[in-house]
């Protein structure tokens, strides 16, 4: 039995210590917001927070997280009431405002990577966003909007910092 904190609640898994966290979350804890994309740490679809840092749950064995804190997309917003926009994490709000998701399958992972970045760097530059987000593939190509949404979320988190000049220049007529 391996016990860890999952979205603020204690969770005990009676499973092989080498079972990847991804399948513990999906098949045992029945939280399906975290996605399977490659199983090899190559795509980021399975990204969750381990003590606040973004990790790939598909290559993290259960025994590596004993006693530690795991946050998934379901636990990202501070409130358990996930039904009103005001309770969403600022990154989720920025995602919705920028119409980021297309198929949406990669987006839990993208949002977990982005929120981990903003937790340590409240106003990332384009360069820093690129570095933090390069492990997350989006086959639908939502990257320009992901970048914009991270800048937008940064503004809500630190309203005094002007990130305007980092924004990519996408126009439509």
């Amino acid at each position: 039995m391996i016990t860890f904190s999952l979205n603020g609640k204690e969770f005990s898994a009676d499973a092989d210590p080498f079972m990847p966290l991804l399948w513990v979350i999906r098949d045992l804890a029945q939280l399906q917001g975290t996605k399977f994309g490659c199983g090899q740490g190559l795509c980021g679809a399975c990204t969750v927070h381990l003590d606040g840092a973004a990790i790939r749950s598909c290559i993290t064995p259960l025994n590596a997280i004993e006693g530690r804190h795991i946050t998934t997309i379901e636990g990202l917003s501070s409130s358990s009431d996930n039904t009103t926009p005001s309770h969403d994490h600022p990154v989720q709000q920025a995602w919705i405002k920028n119409n980021v998701p297309q198929c949406g399958y990669c987006q839990s992972g993208q949002i977990m990577s982005a929120s981990a970045l903003l937790a340590t760097n409240a106003a990332p530059t384009d360069e820093e966003i690129t570095r933090a987000m390069s492990g997350n593939i989006c086959r639908c190509g939502t990257y320009p909007r992901i970048r914009q949404a991270i800048h937008d979320a940064a503004k809500t988190l630190t309203p005094n910092i002007d990130t305007e000049h980092f924004q990519s220049d996408l126009t439509s007529e």
Partner: protein, 734 residues
């Protein structure tokens, strides 16, 4: 425009709840709904339903895979019904003849056509509902129709305002009026940027994809497969796999050994222990070099089928001052949807229920019917959200596998493919080899163009799977299978498969003498529809070769295209737009170069310009500075979704142009996951400058038309920079 729904196509409630009003009409105009049908399942057959508690539901008949269909089609309803799109409760419709695509005869989502084929029918259904509410309100308030205002989801008269639900009882007894659709000046939602309806659930992790849709009773399954598609197990050993933790059963199906366990990881772990001796299929004799030489031989030895023949090509080539020739080649490509293939099945003796992320629910139903041995009316298909489709989910092999595993094991299961399964068991974008000739006359103008291409046709593979869905359900199974097996003969030897030559045979260029022909040559790797299909390679071929003609005949590539497209105002407009926004005419810095391309696909015109620079400080490596894109897709429903689809198509096209390559060794696909089948990541995305041409014309496709342009625009820019013409994909930036 005024339009009417006829009585038979229009359903009123009386059966199930007795409280609602349901509106439907057949898109194809050929649905034959019996009363029994409507009494039993009227809701599922309707597009639009209003209940007494004022719930407005729209049964989405096309599948959302990221392209924005859910938002776009709901906006069409919202516009005419005078409610906000967010107010409408979007549900997924079931498999039914009413939802069959008018051009395909199948209930499929593909060909960038969901909006264009729904444009008139959906608005008509909503406008009819609105006018019936107005009439019902007039009756209730004892006034004339003109005195009732419909706005914000309510009927208004003097100072009374009541929601639609209050008028349902009267409305459902009214006759069906002829309605006028709004004119573009009256639009309050169409053409305005709005939020994507699916953005909140996809940002909160609450969206249910196929992989999330398994009922709790389902065990998890994985399949041990032959390294070459089509191989079968000669013999196999479990080596103790059946005793590993969580394992419930191990069964053989036609193409492998399935392991069923409590968790998918346990199934995968146990699968590693299994050893199989395979019967290798004929394709295992082939590798990249023999595949390419096969295409060469086919081009040299077969005359193929004529796809276009304007003027007299032989004479024109004879008369030419100069003849330009070139050979182009593209490899096979995988779709690599982000969500791997999966399907959940509950199967009993007389009932089969499946949950599948599929672009063709009716073809999935046929696959399940054949695999289970049940009749079609015993099969229920639940279509889920899809983590990308791009054409891959038009093939239902994963449904067939899942149902067979359920059948042989007697267990409810969810089959999940690994990424390795996905990359190595696709229906691939065809590889293709083409040869062009162009003649330049004495005045320096291009007088003729001749094309001959060799590639595997897709239709035989589709025909095999889809035949059952278009044939009547009462035909005996054996007959359906034998008709289906004719696919390769019909589309291999008898008919031209239009998708093999699309983008060339139907090119907008006005050459006096224009000849195109296609040789069907299938090395044996199965092929399928890949975002933009034949255009994905033919635009690269055509737009690169047209660029070659311009350079050889000393013409400006942009001006030459304009003069060859003088009769195509939409193509002309998009070309001019990119040239103007990218300042084609202006002198650039010495290290900056541009390439231009224009193409018409899915009834949409797109022009694209790639601007690159040579990085002298980085071994002269090429850097892509920006992509400028202009699109004319008619009236936009939601311009932000159009823009998102252009961004998406450009990035998909960048992966094709710079990375995409499936290689074959002894019949086996050598790539397996994202380390060797790479996709563009955020660090490789150039600046994008996207322009949408303002239009009131009927909407046309947006999901695919940007994809084909990226490779030729880039190849043409690389030629401008280096003088080297790259005639195969992927392109090299070194």
């Amino acid at each position: 425009m005024s339009t009417t729904i006829n009585r038979r196509q229009f359903l009123q409630t009386s059966g199930l709840t007795g409280t609602g009003l349901a509106f439907s009409l057949s898109i194809g105009g050929c649905a034959n709904l019996s009363r029994a049908d409507t009494a039993h399942a009227w809701q599922a057959n309707a597009w639009l339903e209003i209940t007494a508690d004022n719930t407005v539901s729209f049964y989405l008949h096309r599948t959302e895979m990221g392209q924005g269909t859910m938002t776009g089609l709901t906006t069409l309803i919202a516009e005419e019904l005078e409610v906000s799109p967010e107010f409408i409760n979007v549900k997924t419709s079931s498999v039914h003849a009413n939802y069959v695509h008018p051009d395909y005869g199948l209930q499929i989502t593909g060909g960038s056509s969901s909006t264009s084929s729904s444009w008139i029918p959906l608005r008509t259904a909503a406008a009819t509902a609105r006018e019936m509410i107005r009439r019902a309100a007039a009756q209730r308030w004892n006034t004339t129709i003109d005195n009732v205002q419909i706005a914000d989801g309510k009927a208004h008269f003097k100072d009374i305002s009541l929601p639609y639900g209050d008028f349902i009882d009267i409305a459902k007894h009214l006759s069906i009026p002829t309605v006028s659709l709004k004119t573009p000046e009256q639009y309050s939602k169409i053409g305005k940027p709005g939020i994507r309806l699916d953005a909140p659930m996809k940002s909160k992790g609450t969206a249910t994809f196929g992989i999330d849709a398994a009922p709790a009773s389902c065990l998890k399954a994985t399949l041990v497969r032959c390294p070459v598609i089509g191989g079968t197990a000669k013999s196999w050993k479990t080596n103790g796999a059946q005793d590993m933790p969580g394992v419930k059963k191990i069964v053989e199906i036609h193409n492998g050994i399935a392991v069923i366990a409590a968790s998918w990881w346990q199934a995968k772990e146990a699968a590693k222990a299994i050893t199989v001796d395979w019967n290798m299929p004929p394709f295992s004799a082939l590798s990249d070099d023999t595949i390419l030489s096969g295409f060469r031989d086919a081009l040299a030895n077969n005359s193929g089928k004529v796809a276009r023949d304007d003027g007299d090509i032989e004479q024109a080539l004879d008369d030419a001052e100069q003849v330009i020739e070139a050979e182009y080649y593209v490899p096979y490509l995988a779709h690599a949807t982000m969500e791997p293939m999966n399907c959940s099945v509950i199967l009993t003796d007389n009932y089969c229920e499946i949950w599948a992320p599929t672009q063709g629910p009716d073809i999935a139903a046929v696959a399940a019917e054949h695999a289970s041995g049940l009749r079609r009316n015993q099969v229920t298909v639940h279509t889920t959200l899809m983590g990308g489709g791009f054409g891959r989910r038009l093939n239902q092999d994963f449904v067939e596998e899942a149902v067979l595993i359920a059948k042989h094991s007697g267990l409810p299961i969810q089959l999940i493919w690994s990424r390795e399964d996905d990359i190595q068991n696709d229906f691939y974008r065809p590889s293709a080899l083409v040869r062009f000739k162009a003649g330049i006359d004495k005045t320096g103008n291009v007088s003729c163009l001749s094309h001959k291409g060799a590639s595997p046709n897709i239709m035989p593979y589709t025909f095999k799977e889809a035949a059952g869905a278009v044939l009547p359900a009462w035909l005996p199974d054996g007959m359906v299978k034998s008709i289906a097996s004719l696919g390769p003969t019909i589309y291999g030897d008898v008919l031209l498969d239009a998708t093999s030559v699309e983008g060339i045979a139907d090119s907008c260029y006005q050459f006096d003498h224009f000849h195109a022909r296609h040789v069907q040559h299938d090395p044996g790797l199965r092929v399928g529809y890949w975002r933009s299909v034949g255009h994905s390679f033919n635009a690269f071929f055509m737009e690169s070769f047209v660029d070659e003609i311009a350079h050889e005949s000393k013409q400006d590539p942009y001006s030459m295209r304009l003069s060859l497209l003088s009769e195509h105002p939409r193509m002309t407009a998009v070309l001019k737009s990119v040239a103007q926004h990218a300042q084609w005419d202006k002198t650039k810095a010495p290290s900056v170069f541009q390439g231009i391309a224009v193409h018409h696909s899915f009834n949409t015109s797109v022009a694209m310009l790639a601007e690159i620079s040579i990085e002298n400080n980085n071994n002269d490596r090429i850097r892509i500075n920006k992509i400028v894109c202009a699109v004319d897709c008619g009236q936009t429903i939601n311009p932000d979704i159009v823009k998102a689809q252009m961004e998406s198509g450009i990035i998909f096209g960048l992966t094709q142009a710079l990375k995409g390559k499936i290689t074959i060794r002894n019949g086996a696909v050598q790539q397996s996951n994202f380390h060797d089948y790479e996709l563009i990541r955020i660090n490789e995305v150039p600046e994008m400058d996207i322009h949408i041409i303002d239009s009131r014309a009927a909407p046309t496709g947006v999901g695919e038309p940007a994809v084909p342009l990226v490779a030729p625009a880039l190849a043409n820019a690389i030629f401008a920079a280096t003088g080297k013409r790259q005639r195969s994909l992927p392109l090299s930036l070194l």
